[in-house]
């Protein structure tokens, strides 16, 4: 089975758009077959990823481009169902991979939680730099094969 495009969104880096993307993610993940907690989890991961782009890549500028691409990808070898892949790209400066670690949770301080939420929610979290864009790839797999 090949990759199947589900939804593509192009938006500006305006935090006011976060609720719009969340609404789309909630519906799309539900239609994909995730449980309610999983839908919340994936929606949260995408929301946090976008927030990081807006805050860190674009440093608060609200007119910069972001692309969100959602696709169905084949299941991994072994058991389990198809994957829900989200590709987020921005044109901000190259990110230092060393900064993509998140912080320790035993520290009580504001900030630094976004990456933690992303890694907790998704099965695959990959970052790369390609043709002047930062690309973040997130995948969550269905627990079992979806029955038609």
């Amino acid at each position: 089975m090949s990759v199947e495009l589900l939804l593509k969104m192009e938006l500006r880096s305006d935090p006011g758009m976060l609720c719009v993307v969340r609404a789309a993610m909630e519906r799309l993940t539900e239609a994909f077959g995730f449980s309610e907690p999983e839908c919340r989890s994936v929606t949260r991961a995408v929301d946090e990823a976008l927030t990081n782009i807006m805050r860190h890549s674009y440093e608060g500028q609200t007119d910069r481009p972001i692309e969100v691409l959602c696709q169905r990808v084949p299941k991994r070898r072994g058991t389990g169902g198809d994957g829900f892949e989200v590709l987020l790209s921005d044109r901000g400066p190259a990110v230092d991979p060393a900064k993509l670690q998140g912080r320790r949770l035993d520290e009580i301080k504001p900030g630094g939680l976004g990456l933690h939420f992303i890694r907790q929610s998704m099965d695959v979290v990959e970052f790369k730099r390609e043709r002047g864009s930062n690309l973040l790839r997130l995948i969550k797999y269905l627990q079992s094969e979806k029955q038609d």
């Binding site: 935090p15 969340r22 929301d47 927030t51 807006m54 805050r55 009580i108 504001p110 939420f117």
Partner: protein, 109 residues
């Protein structure tokens, strides 16, 4: 997101509704810090019954409120956490750090 404040004796209750995310968490932060640091209110309560979603920036605002309250000797309380809000605080291992109640009555007791 909407936020409004009401006062009951020496307590200020912030009633928040909607989603708390990067678009509006600075407003929450500002209101909390003003109340705690400038007004020096003895008890500040966040009514989160109508908050459907809170992201890491919202959590950060609450943590800043908590830290300011500790410095000021103010009691800082949350009540009415939705499943999503409770989940986010649990994931960040902060649920036990805050004073959390289910109802306003419990929060004001």
């Amino acid at each position: 997101m909407q936020i409004s404040a009401r006062r009951i004796e020496t307590t200020t209750i912030f009633d928040v509704s909607g989603d708390i995310d990067l678009a509006n968490s600075p407003e929450i932060r500002k209101a909390l810090l003003k109340e705690i640091k400038e007004s020096k209110t003895p008890r500040v309560v966040m009514n989160l019954v109508k908050v459907r979603y809170i992201d890491s920036s919202g959590v950060a605002s609450l943590v800043e409120g908590l830290k300011a309250s500790r410095d000021a000797g103010t009691r800082f309380i949350l009540f009415g956490l939705s499943p999503a809000a409770r989940e986010v605080l649990q994931l960040s291992r902060l649920l036990k750090i805050f004073e959390v109640h289910d109802t306003e009555e419990q929060a004001l007791a």
